[in-house]
Assembly symmetry: C2
Homo-oligomer: 269 residues x 2
């Protein structure tokens, strides 16, 4: 266990939370409401949620917990052969904008320690309407952002994202991709941490700029309908397949914090 | 394998489907629309769905399939030690009424054959508003219906229902219970089959009478809101925990037929 690194990681996740919340509040008439929760063993988190006019439902959650993995998890998680203990700190953000012109956006980064240590996380967006040109620009900027750290990251992590955010029963992707990574440890902690910080800043700038660009554009009923159906798919993915959701519910996390990712309103035909 | 019993069971499930569909169409301005689908190995089903003024979204599905269980399923399912082959025929009904005064209602019965054979199924209802008096009457009639077959059934099957339709992460029941049973085989096939038929008829009469009683009562925004939130919980249960949903998606059933159980519109706060 590395208390120094734990503090540093946690400090950044909480700093980023404050940056994001202030930023989103600035173009919405609503404020984030924070709820603190305690983990059943040690630690807890702060769930900040907004129900606004631009972001219909959004959550920015940070949590830092310590605990012991059950046998079931130990079989799957590195560094738990000798001890079930873990430390986990992270930030998780989901934004469901009211406007169908603005994609739902998801971002998270986390730092894990068992007898090993690593970072995980990702960014991905889920538009409801045609977003082809924007999607290209999103991927180009994200690619550039990753390249500043390693040419290997974007090809590997965007593929991982496409594979992960997939609904096999629908033969559909959840959104239009992004990046996803886990067990990330290049043996250079500072370098890995600087990558994690950079994608946090990327998400901040991207989400802000896309909301600013589209939040005043009007929409019709058919566009709203497409959004509600897309949100149904989003809920399906998160409840059927998302590892973070299952991990959280099965390890005693806060249900409200975990399920803040679910959309405000969703439709199934 | 017992082709005679398979035919009889299937015949009843399809007869009941026609009874239910005609009955629901009679008090709604809409008709059921049927979609036939084929299973990847052998067999298939008919998904009948309605989008009506009284039943906002409803599905009556029958299916009869033959196949082989994967190893993962064989470890859990009786009579598959020597052979992975199975036959399954059943009917599954979910009604999501528009009115928050009428509960969502769920019913299914099925006949399974591996090297063993059994029936499974159940009835349960999920009201959104106060339903206390109605709930008592529902349980009393269901109890009487079960008692005509065995005094043991209601206590055992209603407990099973309460345990099954439970959302541990919310510490909430999905609805107000009913009955749930599986691997039901008393070594008297005719007797077991007559029980299965009787609860099908019970569901027909109960669902019809409760819709007739409440469908003209008006509601306000707050009552509608409560219904949408309750439906969110319903979607959570079905996607996170329902065995039928997972079984269906993992064994190559029809996604549309399996997910017809999801509500037309649901809300997460």
């Amino acid at each position: 266990m590395n208390p120094e690194k734990q503090r540093e990681a946690r400090g950044w996740f909480e700093e980023l939370r404050d940056i994001l919340c202030s930023s989103y509040e600035a173009f919405d008439n609503s404020s984030f409401v924070g709820t603190r929760w305690k983990h059943k063993w040690k630690g807890g988190g702060l769930s900040s949620s907004i129900k606004g006019n631009v972001i219909e439902k959004g959550g920015v959650n940070t949590s830092t917990v310590e605990g012991e993995f059950s046998q079931d998890f130990r079989d799957k998680i590195p560094g738990t052969e000798n001890s079930p203990s873990y430390f986990a700190s992270g930030i998780s953000v989901v934004l469901h904008p009211l406007s169908p012109h603005i994609p739902s956006m998801h971002f998270n980064t986390r730092y894990l320690e068992t007898e090993k240590s690593w970072f995980g996380g990702g960014i991905d967006i889920t538009p409801s309407l045609n977003f082809e040109q924007e999607a290209k620009e999103f991927h180009t900027s994200l690619h550039e952002c990753c390249n500043r750290h390693s040419k290997d990251y974007y090809p590997k992590f965007s593929k991982w994202c496409d594979e992960y955010f997939y609904l096999p029963h629908r033969k559909e992707r959840r959104g239009i991709g992004g990046i996803f990574f886990d067990y990330h440890n290049t043996e250079n902690w500072e370098k890995d941490f600087s990558f994690v910080k950079e994608i946090g800043r990327f998400f901040h700038h991207y989400s802000k700029s896309i909301i600013e660009k589209y939040h005043e554009r009007t929409w019709n009923d058919s566009e709203k309908e497409q959004q509600l159906i897309k949100r149904g798919r989003y809920a399906e993915f998160n409840l059927l397949y998302d590892r973070g959701t299952r991990f959280g519910l099965e390890t005693g996390g806060s249900t409200e914090a975990i399920l803040m990712s679910l959309p405000p309103l969703a439709k199934w035909q």
